[in-house]
Amino acid sequence: MDHLTALENKSIFIIREAYFRFRNIAMLWSVGKDSTTLLWLVRKAFFGEVPFPIIHIDTTYKFPEMYRFRDEYAKKWGLNLIVGRNEGQVEAGMGPGKGTKLDCCNELKTNALKQIIEKNGFKALLLGIRRDEHGIRAKERVFSPRDENFKWDYENQPAELWDQYKSTAAEDNHFRVHPILHMTELDIWKYMKREKIPLTELYLSKNGKRYRSIGCAPCCSPIESTASNVDEIIAELESTHTSERAGRAQDKEDAYTMQKLRSLGYM
């Protein structure tokens, strides 16, 4: 069996296992490449019919291309799409310019999701995170318990030796299930190529820049790249050493630092 098929089999096993154990589950779809790949795998796992709701957390700050893509494929794939918005905070004008970046994420993403889980009583959520995305995610489990406050106690979680997943936990907990945890950024692109999975054009180079990671428009910066199709992206990734999420936070931190230094007369 080739590498990509082995990865696919593992993911499909986890997806079916989660559905079998919990029944009342949902999947988070950010419209980015990873969760779209996960959605593709979910469709494969259930022969084209997705038997649970797909949640899109709408901060109202996503790129227009993302909204277009979401609506197009929700229809095409017959998804039961739940759009989650923290209406109270959206109306109150929460945004990256109002609170800190952290307050904004907390209200518009985390609390919006909390509201949906509470309302629907989901026992588990499928998420498209990958172990190579960020240092802390190396500690993630495929079945990852969270308490009612969404707290992830990473120092106290069950071991998953030899692919034995622990999918039971205390009453108040819900599970985060990570079916593509074992894939790398490069695996995703190679799998997307093989399966011809659709993607938003934000990932493709336009005027010498493309997005390597997408989220809310104000908090994402494109990278310099001439890769304008999936083959070129794969070639680019095979020769790069910078982190995938570099465009997300570093620019903001530098901008903050410059503003602070300038206010004290430096620069």
């Binding site: 970046k101 630092t257 410059m258 602070k260 620069m267």
Partner: protein, 450 residues
């Protein structure tokens, strides 16, 4: 195991608090608690800051106890290797282990002459609490608690562990005040400075009481902010903001008194207590823009269409970064490098003679001394050091700004850092012989844990 109460250290950092001003305020009764401490067997000692006397460098020298040639922090900004592009060093750039690494067993691959000196002589399982320490972002996973000070763009990433972040968030802790308010909303600026000071004190007392610790370092940075914009109010009783300035120091004194009392009560009077600053302050007479001077003297050409240091033109001999760091535009080191290594001494001499002769319009000498980087710094990081560092006489604030149209100017800033007037309050007889330097403090602290 019996606890040896003498093996506990509390350091209160007061950013930019000059020895001379503290002495006057103690004398005038503005700081009765500090006066009390001093009359009980403590000395107020004048101390030299690092060169350059900028907070990031000086605090890195304090926390590592070694010179910038070892810890690698020469300022708040650097150029990326082989470019003129700016980058901002953070804790990842601090190459020497900090005090909390040395006593906490978290040095990892970091090494330094100080860590070598104390290896095996101090325990490696001691806990540190470090609050608002500049140049520690992103927060390291230390044995204890740390929240980063200036520049800290994100409190969560700047705090370890997460429970400490949750606490700080719960008290609406203020990472840094909005300095840009100082000129157009001075009252709001003073209000926020006082509020931030109170939050720091609240956090100090919380962690003192609720954590187990051996070394506590709590830093107040609002003093520095106040000084930058209102140092002219420190002594001038007719200044509109004199009272507010002095009131701030009265409140600072309350905090000194409270943490001192609580620390002494918990150690039966046997712990080591210190306050210290990373540099002094003096009123500004003129800001001095050395890059402009270099342009006038033919050492530097600039392309105004570009940004920051990318303006540096081909053929330039040298340029300056804040505060007085002078870099020679060497071939091989920069894309537009124009000076070959064998011409170093002639370029150094040319720059030195220009700077030594520099006078303001009233005929006052501007530059106190020009140091050669090869004499100042030693260690693995000294290859990246500035070639020269110009230190101004008090009143002449040396700037690396690259866009100024004249070599001299004034602005809304009223105070400048000084190298010679940092302070340290320590038990009498603690200071080493000779003049105290900020790099000495770490040894004094580590001696306590032997």
């Amino acid at each position: 195991m019996t606890m040896d109460l003498s093996k506990k250290v509390f350091v209160l950092g007061i950013d930019g608090a000059p020895e001379t001003l503290l002495a006057e305020y103690v004398e005038q009764g503005v700081m009765p608690n500090l006066k009390n401490i001093l009359s009980g067997g403590y000395d107020l000692v004048q101390m030299d800051a690092s060169i350059p006397d900028v907070s990031s460098t000086s605090w890195a020298s304090f926390m590592t106890g070694v010179n910038p040639g070892e810890h690698g922090i020469y300022g708040f900004m650097e150029l990326l290797p082989n470019t003129y592009r700016l980058t901002f060093p953070n804790y990842a750039s601090v190459k020497a282990p900090a005090l909390w690494d040395i006593i906490g067993g978290t040095s990892g691959i970091k090494a330094s002459t100080l860590a070598d000196k104390f290896k095996g002589r101090v325990p490696n399982n001691l806990r540190s609490i470090v609050i608002n320490m500049p140049e520690t972002f992103p927060a390291p996973a230390l044995n204890g608690v740390l929240t980063s000070g200036f520049v800290c763009p994100d409190l969560k990433k700047g705090t370890y562990p997460e429970s400490a972040y949750e606490y700080l968030r719960s008290i609406n802790y203020i990472m840094d005040i909005e300095a840009s308010n100082a000129s157009d909303k001075p009252d709001a600026f003073f209000d926020e400075a006082l509020l931030a000071l109170n939050k720091r004190a609240e956090a100090f007392l919380h962690f003192m009481d609720n954590e187990r610790w051996d070394l506590f370092i709590g830093v107040v940075t609002e003093t520095d902010r106040l000084h930058h914009f209102f140092f002219d109010a420190a002594r001038d009783k007719t200044h509109k903001y004199h009272e507010r300035f002095v009131f701030f120091y009265t409140r600072m004194d309350d905090i000194i008194g409270r943490v001192f009392e609580r620390f002494m009560a918990s150690t039966n009077g046997r712990g080591l207590f210190m306050t210290m600053s990373d540099h002094g302050f003096a009123p500004i007479r003129k800001e001095v823009y050395l890059n402009r001077l270099f342009v006038e003297k033919g050492l530097l050409t600039l392309d105004p269409a570009r940004e920051y240091f990318e303006q540096i033109g081909a053929g330039s001999k040298a340029f300056v970064m804040d505060p007085g760091r002078i870099y020679i535009n060497f071939e091989g080191r920069y894309p537009g490098g124009a000076v070959s290594a064998r011409d170093r001494s002639s370029v150094v001499n040319e720059i030195k003679s220009i700077l030594i002769d520099l006078k303001d319009s009233d005929g006052n000498a501007v530059i106190n001394r020009v140091y050669d980087g090869t004499e100042l710094y030693s260690g693995d990081e000294s290859a990246r050091s500035p070639d020269l560092v110009a230190v101004g006489n008090d009143g002449f604030d040396i700037k690396g700004n690259i866009k100024k149209p004249q070599a001299f100017g004034t602005s809304h800033f009223r105070g400048m850092h000084t190298r010679h007037d940092a302070h340290c309050v320590m038990p009498s007889g603690t200071a080493p012989l000779g003049r105290l330097h900020i790099e000495n403090i770490a040894s004094i602290i580590l001696e306590r844990f032997i």
